[in-house]
Amino acid sequence: MKKTLLTAGAILALAMSPAAAQNKTVKIGFVSTFSGPTAVIGNDMRNSFELALDHLGRKMGGLPVEVIYEDDGQKPDVGKQKTEKLIESDKVDFIVGYIWSNVLLASLKPVIDSKTMMVIANAGPHQVAGELCSPYVFSTSWQNDQTPQAVGEYMNQKGVKTVYLIGPNYAAGKDMLQGVASTFKGKVVGQDLTRWPDQLDFSTELSKARAAKPDAIFVFYPGAAGVQFLNQYVQAGLKGQIPLYTAFTIDELSLPRQKDLALGVPGAQEWVNDLPNDANKKFVADYITKYKTRPSFYGAQSYDAANLINSAVMAVKGDLSKKDAMRDEMRKANYKSVRGPYKYGNNHVPIQNFYLQEAVKNDKGELVLKTVATIVKDSQDRFHSKCPMKW
């Protein structure tokens, strides 16, 4: 009897030990930009991720969470190097972050080769939604084309007949301009792709746009470049002449520096500060209390990324070796997203609403972004059919 008990105990211990030994912590690698003029974006993503961990009691499925933040310096080669380091020497369980599409594309191969679970919190190059989709790669943002597609729809509603497109010459810039063109029913009378990220003087492009005499100008410049573009658009005297439509150019991070120039310039986004769901109210209120400033959509997506990972770790009760079970759980998007409920497409890109947002003055006289209308309901990216994944 005693022997049987001992044997049973030993077998039990053997069966338990690998899981217990492997999963002392959930190790997460976070790649974003923490230096240079766009470091404000990386900081907002980090702040929101940390806030999500606070809300989760800094534990996922009973395991403590360890996050390693790495700075890509907005450079694809550096991003790739940092990603490889996180996978090979830190042996992270999850890899999260990525603002820039070109940095993400450069970093993707080591992630897919090592089958590391990945949650992209911003970048959305069409390749990742299409032929490069992977069972272990999820997005809590969008495919690049989706937001400008919504802007294109909005321009149709406003009766815009001709448009001039301006954006930066890199993966996301090209996606964005093609995104607008894909839904816009009028004529694209010209387009410019500018050197990225070092060209910040847009005089040439603004002159060309003016000469083309379009009904509207569409522009995509994320981060500090968006502030500069808007300044120069006003200085060139275009503000009264040709209306501006934007994607990712006016957000909570750039607004304090764009000030009144941003008033009345429409844009689209899947998340705005004032979305009326409980998860979002808690996120925004606690963020403002902790960091004394408002969060941006970059932060909202990072906050969601932490909660998406948590849902997966909970589902396998902390056994992080069960990657397939975690993937199946993540496909359900079974957590309280701050944008409200959404579904995943076959390529792990959200199927979600896009809202019209505009900068307005609130009752305290501060500039804030406000949801004006829903432009597209349940938008799915146009590359999902190129992704071979089915489930």
Binding site: A39, L193, Q199, Q235, G237
Partner: protein, 305 residues
């Protein structure tokens, strides 16, 4: 046609801005024989000073004047504290030493002003556009940059060519031992020239701040172009720097404005709009290579070399 006028003005504005930066660089290089990679830091400091002082005083012109004085002071202080020790050494030491200064200033600005950058707010009379001729609108601010830079170029030319100080500067460029032997306080002259170069860079930076916002590291990209300008123009030559700056400004703008359209004549639309910007950013370096093959000393080599 209207577009062409506007683009020429854009090119001229960018070229003149480059000239302000290149003039200081070429003065320091020509006279002190010093390769100064920290020149872009004064450009950055000018921008930050202007943004800070205009915000503090609430007065645009006053803030700009204060910023210029501050950049001049910083420039002279840097010369006395750090640069002075580098004169006797070779160019590699200059590069290392001034590169260290560049990193130092970037970190200093990050400590003082934070990583986010600063806006220089323009008064409303500058923040508009005017109709130059029927149908041609141009930014009032960019026009004023052209005017200011032209005036500065003229003053610089007169100072260097027509005044006693200018004569000493030119003499120092040809033979610095001789001018020292003539009883001129060469140390003081060098401090002054270095400070003036810094102030010119600061002027370029503060004018650019209203267009691009003040940012850490903003001097590095444009410094490369300023080096291209002094190499094309001939090292140490103000006249060369002036002509080369305008050449580079025009080539850059014209390339950006029309190269994609030219490429569309024999490439597909998608290929042309991707290749256009990439090619136009190489155009300047191609021109530099061609000029160097034909005139290795640059277009207007300084007489002393």
């Amino acid at each position: 046609m209207l577009l062409f006028v506007e683009q020429t003005l854009n090119g001229l504005q960018f070229g003149l801005l480059l000239f302000l930066l290149a003039a200081g660089l070429t003065l320091v290089f020509g006279i002190m024989d010093l390769v100064n990679l920290a020149h872009g830091s004064f450009y950055m400091l000018g921008a930050y000073f202007a943004a800070t002082f205009t915000a503090l005083t609430g007065h645009f012109i006053g803030g700009v004047v204060l910023a210029l004085i501050a950049t001049l002071m910083v420039g002279m202080a840097v010369e006395v504290i750090a640069i002075r020790r580098l004169y006797g050494r070779d160019h590699l030491d200059h590069v290392l030493g001034t590169f260290g200064l560049l990193l130092f200033f970037n970190e200093l600005v990050r400590l003082i002003w934070g990583p986010a950058g600063m806006n220089l707010t323009l008064p409303s009379w500058l923040n508009t556009s005017i109709e130059l001729m029927p149908g041609v609108y141009y930014s009032m601010y960019r026009l004023s940059i052209i005017v200011v830079a032209l005036v500065v170029a003229l003053v610089l030319y007169l100072v260097v060519m027509r005044t006693r100080i200018g004569m000493l500067i030119r003499a120092g460029a040809s033979n610095r031992e001789m001018i020292g032997a003539l009883g001129i306080n060469i140390k003081l002259l060098f401090t002054f020239v270095f400070g003036a170069g810094a102030a010119l860079a600061g002027l370029a930076g503060l004018m650019q701040a209203a267009i691009l916002t003040a940012q850490i590291g903003m001097g590095e990209n444009i410094l490369i172009l300023a080096f291209v300008v002094i190499i094309i123009g001939g090292i140490g030559s103000i006249r060369g720097a002036f002509i080369a700056s305008i050449l580079v400004g025009l080539i850059d703008t014209v390339g950006r404005a029309f190269l994609s359209d030219v490429l569309k004549l024999f490439l597909s639309n998608a290929a042309a709009s991707t290749a256009g910007p990439a090619l136009s950013s190489m155009l300047i370096y191609l021109v530099m290579a061609v000029i160097l093959v034909m005139r290795p000393e640059g277009l207007f080599p300084a007489a002393s070399k």
